[in-house]
Symmetry: D4
């Protein structure tokens, strides 16, 4: 049965739900995956490693998976040491600079739809990799093609046709500098496009501001945008879209 979006809040007000105690400065929101369709994500930058570790441990619990982003290898290693003996397993994704912490009984994520991922240039990959990871953790299958920017338009042909053939439910397009690629893609397909500006580029409009603006000003409807370098946001949005389509598929036994 469908639940109300306010169930957790209602329980908190009624004092009959599980409380959210603060541990090491973190008040873990363990119901997020159920409520919002996306697991709680720990943003590591600027947090003491003890906070990161205890947040991950509490969020992973017995059977959940949690993603810690903006996490370098050293931090990941340190967390691994701190959580030794707790039963969680830790995987570090070097491309996405992220760490997955899984409870002892956690299962592989599944149940999502199909997401396409394009990058305009080679330098956009670290950000796109974060999106890739999040969409995967939300159970989606991701098809990614890199370096298909419009400076050499012919490079886009094969990858975009491949995505359409895969019947992707959403396409994330990561681009820095001029951020032109999402406009071109959205002018060609009937799939929702999520513009993911990256901080590649220098000078006026550098640091991704130019790319963000281009995507917001796009003449081609069917684009929505997340913030610069926000791979988490792009991955989560794509996953929500794709999970939705997939749920319909599942409910009806449809297969693509």
């Amino acid at each position: 049965m469908r639940q109300s979006p306010f169930d957790e809040l209602r329980h908190a007000l009624d004092r009959d739900g599980t409380d959210s105690p603060e541990i090491n400065g973190v008040r873990a929101d363990i119901g997020r995956l159920a409520r919002c369709g996306v697991p709680e994500i720990v943003y590591c930058r600027g947090k003491p490693v003890e906070s990161i570790a205890s947040a991950c441990e509490r969020l992973a619990g017995e059977s959940r998976r949690v993603v810690a982003t903006r996490c370098d290898a050293a931090t990941s290693e340190r967390v691994r040491e701190l959580l030794e003996g707790t039963g969680v397993s830790i995987t570090f994704d070097v491309e996405a600079s992220a760490m997955i912490v899984a409870g002892p009984d956690a299962q592989q994520p599944s149940g999502g739809g199909v997401v396409g991922l394009l990058t305009a240039g080679t330098s956009d990959w670290p950000v796109a990799a974060e999106a890739n990871l999040i969409a995967g953790e939300a159970g989606c299958t991701v098809h990614a093609f890199r370096d298909v920017g419009v400076a050499g338009l012919h490079r886009l042909v094969q990858p975009l046709e491949a995505l359409i053939e895969q019947e992707v439910d959403a396409i994330i397009v990561a681009a820095g500098m001029d951020g032109v690629l999402p406009s071109v893609v959205a002018g060609l397909v009937d799939v929702p496009v999520i513009g993911l500006p990256t901080s590649t580029g220098y000078g006026h409009g550098g640091g991704g501001e130019g790319a963000l603006t281009t995507m917001l000003q796009s003449c081609a409807p069917g684009i929505a945008v997340v913030n610069i370098d926000n791979g988490v946001g792009a991955g989560a949005m794509a996953a929500l879209i794709a999970r939705r389509a997939n749920r319909v598929r599942s409910q009806s036994g449809a297969s693509d």
Copy 2:
């Protein structure tokens, strides 16, 4: 059978498709609905009324519908006069400041999914109405609730529960000033949220810049954003998401 996103471009390069002649400065893109899932939209501001009229006429053709946005009543009236006798029918939507021009054999749009629409304040409605119109023209059913901003959080309860009960495929949240509402909504539901900042508000961060920034910086994953006052973009994005889910439903004969 699934077509390639490059079919029109391929035809143009092969000179075997229909050419796009320029008429009154407009080169109509009549294949956009088929290609991109959203009808071509004529942005009226700054265009001579003759350009608007001939663009609408060519785009509507025999059996299509076209939306002309940022169109005041006087312009609409003038277009009606210019197109008298061509067989098109014209509807003016005063709330959205938009005009629908339909060819003589055009049908009511259908085939989309279900879209939710919330506004934080009363002043956000004109922009939200544009999104409403576009989603409707793309065949979606839209459920809208106005003035549910977080300054009085209890006002959000009933509308948001209603949207979830309607199983909306996407929720557009229009907000100006502090732009806080989309973050709150995205923290409560597992439906993709499209943030639509409006130019309500003055002073630092006024004109919608503050609302846009809030939405881009949202701590709650599952939000993507369109530009300030871009009701067209929000409506189109929501429609693409909802149409996708609906197509799956239709393919499988599913009912929710």
Copy 3:
């Protein structure tokens, strides 16, 4: 014989050239066409009509032509009255909001090369028309195509092929909103592209700022940019490039 770029300055310092007296607040620079290859241009906005008229009269003289830009029809009419009986002839270009004032013995401009001009949308034309006028006044032939923006990429094919067949020496690409078109064009041709951002568009990056940034951030080398709505600058730059190529042609009797 080739002259020094400092000849007029040298004459001024030696007191043996023609002085530049101030008349009605204007100190006319009548040698600019000879020195810089572009006629002096009178920017009308914010100037009293008497200043405009006397500047035009002095600049046109017996045999020169001068362009007055950002000039509405009423101003043009008023100048015509003020200069009645002076022998100058006045042409008003309604699309470019500009006025050409020619001395009684002035000849049609000639001697330039071939310039291409593309606009992404219909609304970009007023700015592009200014560029068109200036390049024409500098003696160039201009081939223009309107509304070929990338939201419908197939519309670009025929116009761009036509420009290349015309062997244009430079291409001006006017675009507002996302300003994507110059990047796409520069990725396809080996002709210098002059990006001309227009103030079309609203919201974040509106008023042409987004288009300017996109062009400055372009991944495709071979683009240089003028300021937002600066049709004069784009036309002058294109003309200087094209005149140069043409001069070589003329010197050698070459024909394309």
Copy 4:
């Protein structure tokens, strides 16, 4: 008896007050606590350690306490060495990156009211800790709750109810990224809210600019804001409000 705000200035003009000599580039304002209700605060960043030490020594004097902010552990250690033998005692607050220097006869601060302090996320604590310290030094009792941001709204319930039960005189709400929490709190309580934006967050509106703008644009009246990361300012403002209420309480022997 109530004094004039101009007493010190009057004394300076009459040459009958204590002069403010410059020592090591610092002209200490030893009357600030009496005049303004907040102790003089030494901002350490960019100052030579000798200036910091002599400023602290002079400000602490026999019986006062001074706070040195933006002070790392090494600087604190160095100051301790420089002031060895002067009788001052030094406490370093690692969370707030601040140092308290107390004269030999200085007493614990007292006499303030009750201040609430909330942070939206874990990363906001260092800034909030600075506010905490300053309010404490001004004699207030502070009740703090961390990580109660609206991405999981239910986490706010218990902390906010606790603050209201404590009858806090003002609530400082520290938040980075989207800066949404102060708006939500101000919509729920009748206590003055001091928005304290923190420089958490990246991309457009990063570095706290987005959070600042959100708070300035808040739809809920009853919020005033200090600059990004300005824990000192937030703590001082809260303390002035709370001291005022407390003074009334004391004058009348009231107890809550």
Copy 5:
């Protein structure tokens, strides 16, 4: 007995409170005065007069008072006509461009403390007048002095001494252009200062941006700031501070 800040939300979730129906696009928040200590305020700019009128009528009810801001005389007149016969009484404040609508049994506001109000220049008065009105409607006594900016510092002496003698609980300081006055005042008193930047001024930092920045950057602790021209916000913040102090006074029978 003290209530929870979540009472209205709890009632909404439990479906046992009064619902907030939408009328003419407005969902009135009639509990705001009780919950937040400030009456609901209708921001008129950009709203249809019918929405304004029905919002005011519903908010005023039998015995409440509501303020409608950014309201010109014509709008006020039109609302008066629309509400004729409903029993509400309407007062238009020409200086504050605001309108007070009071239900038939509404009483004069009372119960607040004492608020000081200073303006740097003559042109800051319209904004300050809005703050004046709001603080008054929240039951405070306001003492105002105009044109005391630091370009002639001696003008500040008498007004500031007067405010201190009146034992004001908070001081609102309105200033445009360089926005210097709040810093000077906060350096002289131990009363919380609310900086109210106004949009007076032109050029770089014009429109109030410079004044806002100055106040945020103030070297004198004890200032918090509201947005440019936000007289409502300044008045509400001052009122919450003053009401608090006054409540303590009342509870204990204290008199100043």
Copy 6:
């Protein structure tokens, strides 16, 4: 005998000077000419005409002169009517959009030095005229040359040599758009240059922002800058410099 800069403040604190009463929202600073070397200036924009009139009347008094800037002809006329019979005489300067109000016994200003004034273009004159007026009212002789911008560098020769021959004490250089002229002038002379950016120009850096930035970034030392369109500031700064040199001249009976 030389007085203290604090004399008026000292008198105010001692309650033995003339008080500054508020009349119509204005607290006139009648000692400014004596204290600061520049007459009090009434900025008219956004002030009610009654305030302007009573400020002018009080400031002019028996024998002083006051300047009212940003004053259109209609306002001037209205003030003239309001002050009819008071004995003041009013002169309207149409180029500077300013009005001089002189008391019945006021004398022509004198005693200043010599100021140079250059404008880059014709459109810069209205702003430069304001500077011209203020410097004249401070008793300086002003030598002005218009339209000498660097697009035609030879036009600068004669005017600049003339200024140096006149032994100007300071040069105001007004320029909009690229704001290049002050840099060129400061690279040629040993006289202090006051950069006066004007709001001429459009697009990126328009409204004078580009000109201001150019002047602040100037590679040629010896330039200081006032805000965009701030003719009053430029005139006052030049006058203070020139008056100083002239006072030395007068004290010693020197003649240039």
Copy 7:
């Protein structure tokens, strides 16, 4: 015979051209020199050295040359090691921080025209050197003069006369801080000027923003601009202009 700009795209759509496989995240665009007149350029910053190496190797192939920019000496050395034995030859340009990788049969570039290059200051050289390198790689002869900024205008005379005597087809003018030099040059010559702002300078408008704005706002027509520090863009634009003129020369056997 002249080819269509769409040939590569046509081949990609027809599946009969060479495909663009992704290797190490790079999809090399080997046809760029033929299509766009400028070799593919590898931007090194933020890319793993393996990606750089394999991109360079593939782009150089048997007989092509590729430029890798923003490349420090260490990266260059590392690439040299990785490509040992592949037959490519590597040259590191320390001034331009760039590396040229040439295939074993690659020839020296030739066939371009003549380009002038001026820098305003010494610090602009690294950026100008990048432009120098690119124009050279496109086959142009470059004449460069450094440190000729307008703070000492006489320094410009000899270099500019020299460039005109060399009959340059385009002049790149690199300038930071106030960015004044391009305006002065464009006011003196009839050659297209490419403004190249550099990130020299600090404070307001620092990092090249001021220089960029000055160039965009230039009063002298005949300037187009590339982004801050974009030596590649300036060199490519100049090369396209000069190659064009040279091609005409070559076609006709003309010699200058």
Copy 8:
């Protein structure tokens, strides 16, 4: 006899002056002190030490002095080594991070007037020290007082009275954060004030932008501003003003 500002340019055009050869990328402007009243200044940041050394050597020559700014101790030491044996003497000013290089016969600077220098805070001294140095090198006497900001207004009394007693010709006021001090000073004296914003401060308006804006928006006429941290510019402007007054004094035998 008075010379023309164009003499050096005239000589360059006539080829009869000393040429400006480029050495190590620097084209020394050895006539600047004579022409502009300020010695040539070498800005060291971003320049190779060889360029700095050879520029200093050439500029110092036999009998001149040159200032090298933004120069750390290591660079200074390295230059000293490179210029060993050339006869120049080098002094490093650690507070101003600057180096004075004097030719063997160079004399102490003299002939300037009297300059006042105030800093609002301790952290403003490094920038103020640069101004101090430049004014000294231009022959002025400088009276400096530190840490007199308005947060403790009484600290300003004695220093400002001292400056007026010294009959300073100009006052430089350095201030960061809110930048309020110049406005207060200019409201009290009749001496030209040069606002010198420093990059002290963080958050919104940090890095000196807030201070710059405050000074540009100042309500007190008689302030002109240089760029953030531009001690050179402030020192040069003050020196030009003071030298002028002093020259008049000298010409007439006047003594202060």
